[in-house]
Symmetry: D2
Subunit: 140 residues, 4 copies
Amino acid sequence: MKVVMQAEELSEYLDEIFPQARGDFVIEAVAEHAVRVRMPVAERHLRPGGTVSGPAMFALADVSVYIAVLAMLGREALAVTTSGSFDFMRKPAAMADLICDCRLLKLGRVLAVGECMIYSEGVEPPVARVSMTYAIPPAR
Amino acid sequence: MKVVMQAEELSEYLDEIFPQARGDFVIEAVAEHAVRVRMPVAERHLRPGGTVSGPAMFALADVSVYIAVLAMLGREALAVTTSGSFDFMRKPAAMADLICDCRLLKLGRVLAVGECMIYSEGVEPPVARVSMTYAIPPAR
Amino acid sequence: MKVVMQAEELSEYLDEIFPQARGDFVIEAVAEHAVRVRMPVAERHLRPGGTVSGPAMFALADVSVYIAVLAMLGREALAVTTSGSFDFMRKPAAMADLICDCRLLKLGRVLAVGECMIYSEGVEPPVARVSMTYAIPPAR
Amino acid sequence: MKVVMQAEELSEYLDEIFPQARGDFVIEAVAEHAVRVRMPVAERHLRPGGTVSGPAMFALADVSVYIAVLAMLGREALAVTTSGSFDFMRKPAAMADLICDCRLLKLGRVLAVGECMIYSEGVEPPVARVSMTYAIPPAR
């Protein structure tokens, strides 16, 4: 199975369908069943105590799995998140970008399963692990 | 075990520690080990196709469990989310508020487990289920 | 939607397809989108320290969601577990039966989501919460 | 941090505390924060349709994370499973052993998080992913 949308095309498509998120996520790499996405951390992502909020990490994982599915299936893919789980293991550094390494563990006819390891730039162990299942509606 | 912070005091405290979220969440009811929180749905929570985004539902569940812990332990509680899971079962209506019914299934010395059922106002079956574990650091 | 298999018929069917589990699970009640299943706790379910093992609780939840789906869809249902999550909140009593209250939060065309609260007989708060997603293959 | 119990010592210890599971699990490799455990598949693990049951895969993941924690902390470790999640992605082959690659993503003072990829011997993509959080009670 081959990548059918590359980083630039994916970025343009995301800007088109999520204009309100423009600039929030940077697609750094796209490969078969895998993408890397950066989230430049901004004031609105922070929590008291100087850490990145859980919902911000969730949003990064959610968009990363969606991008990984799009990269393989193309813009007709209408995947919707159905379930998932997360472990927030360490406090991300307050003003370091988050880097999300996402891998599709399964890309079936009906379900896709993606797993994300999220890193705080400059720190070795992952700060979070998130897995998501996406349902892929039948092509129209 | 008794509720130690009521809805009004909890709201003021949240505005103080999360000023950027002022108005995003309305605490509607507080009881022993249970809270109800409303999220007035706004343009920024929406996704193409006219539905509320997964990250918005996650944020609602996250703040609801946090409020439920605060209500029982008071403002000294420094709980942090450590893990959780979610099922997104139905598409929320686009412009209906979300209502989150959160129940603490456990409030231990070290860990609290909360479960949230999220409803799209006016629709009977829940749109999402989210559970979260919070770690409670030892009191200073 | 109506129940199409009642407790007795479900029990016979389980004995037929899982003969090795005969007697492990007792279907106590069947209702629309909900079942109650008892697991008589035996020596082989125990862990050092006199508690019921996690895998035994998982097995109880797994069979309960499966029974709840069968009760609604009938024996043609070929549902398979695709994902799920669990919180083990309290130590079950060593020699008390486990009671599992399972509710289908969703029974769609493709996916079913069930949630189980597991109780140690005679103790009020639940000992575990488990949710499971089952994929329902298209009818043959 | 160093491994404090090697495979042979871990096996003897497991046989001692879980005599009923003797022979069910074979510890194949132990490294810092990582173990590999094999489950020789037997008749009792199978499901109709010739596949390994979900509870059998859960049990393998559960024991693997426990072994990984013991390997690092020693036999005084009294870790108990508190929560987790799983994705069952593919049907394991009926009579192939399962191989579980477990990695500790976190080994904190209070919580350990382990993640397992489970393989059906001879098949490349993983059949399941399981993560588990263990609570580590304070040393006595």
